[in-house]
Symmetry: none
Subunit: 418 residues, 2 copies
Amino acid sequence: MNAEIIAVGSELLLGQIANTNAKFISNQLSELGINVYYHTVVGDNANRLKSAIEIAESRANLIIFSGGLGPTKDDLTKETIANHLGVSLTFDETALNYIEQFFAKINRPMTENNRKQALILDGSEVLANNHGMAPGMILEKNNHTYILLPGPPKELEPMFQYEAKPKLVARLNGESVIMSHVLRFYGIGEAELEHKVQHILDTQTNPTIAPLASDGEVTLRITAKSNSEQVAKDLIKTKEDEILAIVGEFHYGNNDDSLASKLVEMLLHNKLTISAAESLTAGLFQSELAEISGVSGTLVGGVVTYTENAKINQLGIEKSLLDQFGIVSQECAAEMAVKVREKFGTDIGVGLTGAAGPEPHDGQPAGTIWIGFSIKGYEPVTRQLKLSGMRNTNRLRAVKLAFSYLMRLLAEKGYEKK
Amino acid sequence: MNAEIIAVGSELLLGQIANTNAKFISNQLSELGINVYYHTVVGDNANRLKSAIEIAESRANLIIFSGGLGPTKDDLTKETIANHLGVSLTFDETALNYIEQFFAKINRPMTENNRKQALILDGSEVLANNHGMAPGMILEKNNHTYILLPGPPKELEPMFQYEAKPKLVARLNGESVIMSHVLRFYGIGEAELEHKVQHILDTQTNPTIAPLASDGEVTLRITAKSNSEQVAKDLIKTKEDEILAIVGEFHYGNNDDSLASKLVEMLLHNKLTISAAESLTAGLFQSELAEISGVSGTLVGGVVTYTENAKINQLGIEKSLLDQFGIVSQECAAEMAVKVREKFGTDIGVGLTGAAGPEPHDGQPAGTIWIGFSIKGYEPVTRQLKLSGMRNTNRLRAVKLAFSYLMRLLAEKGYEKK
């Protein structure tokens, strides 16, 4: 089985958004061992879409569409496929009910064009949309499999994973196994990591190893092929051990892990509570932690002290300390961590202060950041960063480095990683 | 002139990275008024690349390639095009010198495959690479224009902007002007907005109007063609006025504006200070505001009160109020807004509480959110949301709706938008 992904939407051709759906679907298909040879993007135009479908049919047997299932006139994926394949469109009652209930729930008028979203290709299996209105569908016709998915990623991703993927797996039964495993590293550059494991990369055949860097993080994807799942798993495990023997100190997690999810796991496992006092990050440290469901077992809260007065009045930091050392200082970061920990009665307090940019702040150049950590029973510890990114890259980088430092600090104090 | 973008790289088909190069180039081309009808992604495979080139030649006269110009065996874009067009490859002395100097500078041996990067298509103009080693090129042949760009965005983007674009502009001289203007709306669904302006959309010719929805926001892109910039501007302005006469109440900004940037502008313009007390959003409201440079003139700070105790101890909310009405309640949101405003001595206080999901919270279903606004001198105001997204979509949606409600509330009280 080999696949082509056709993304439909003029907004992609105008450069308003990137085709992240093709990335997501490709990644999922590669885990199933389905080869993807082409991605195509085409606008909201029936003739050009029809032509793209014909080309895809000549070179793939699985064709996956994203976008064009919405309520507007521009949305014409279903209509064009129906016309091309000579299949009619019929209303799916479940989807229609769902749409009606949705409008009742949000208390907004339902217009006629919203009904159009419940139309499906005759003979197709419906893929339920649990995060939006337009259902997806899967259709077999003329030795091709057609899968239609909605454009918004928050609808497409769960629909692919929980609705479409199991149906594809059923069709693949008996074919060879391809398995992937992603190792995640933080605190090391891509070139440096690659340099350290160069001899492993140079001799790769099966498993293969693909490095990738983004957002200050580096990942290594190990992919093994075999006839048996167990053999593929063993191949991956051997290679993983070999790599971690060299760069294990920078390894923080695997696959879908994030620094925030690993830190929350570690805090919950050790029954530690946390609070934060944030200046340049202005709540981002806490908000990133709160992305993880279950965080309420460790995150009590914290303060955002954006101004000098807020640091004095809300945290009780002495004005004399700020006058002597400055706001962007080791002393201020440490004091923020200690004060917020005491104020919120937590086991750990974190303080973040610095010059996010683009302007210098408090006499310090943009990118100068101090992070303080106060762990109950220990003296506070600080780390300085000198970043060269833009304002919001610096803010996010500071938060991720704070997560990473805190995990190492806790490990040093003997806390288990889980 | 119409264009197709062919991105070459197996990492795209494996879903390791998204095709952000196509987004970037498309956006740039749309500014030049060059239509892009297709994007294609193909792997590091000469036969499939050749087939993609043939298809592109049948439907576009400008073909832009990204990727496959590097030193490794996988990099075969130049070689495949040379072979397909019957053109030879020759060394470019400037590029070769640059590569040799680079290796001398980092004091590492230069391998033979690095020299390969200095090969260019015979008869092409070189596009200098100021951020890497592989030069780009532009070639005219058989009524087609071929542009080859390197894959890494930090090399491709400046090369396109400063090397390729001027050459394209020169080729376009005398053709018509195309201008775009994006109107941004919040608090109205895509279908509802389209329904309201349906008669305008139905009769569009020049300017054209393209709707797009993402992250709870709807945009209308108005694009006008003309021989003169002034006429294009006037065409856009007339259409804009017509649209805003109908749905102006939901319009918050244009082009690169964001809800946060417009709110910060309005607060600064009216010399109003702001603070926030956040539960489910856990700092996201403040952090999103702090993305805007200059926010320190209005954002004083705030608290994250994730637990019930934090709401009582840090904000001074009466336990009896929480016991009577619950944490996810109108009363709690209003009280959070009032208390944080008083505590931080600001003109405005905002309180956010709710069940982000996936679990219900405090007896309320996931997606139930209350936002409170306290403006100095006025009684607090609250808004309830019932969202149906996933945890972090709900958290972000709550923050954006809070920005949007607050701007309307301030406008109602007579504050100017700027």
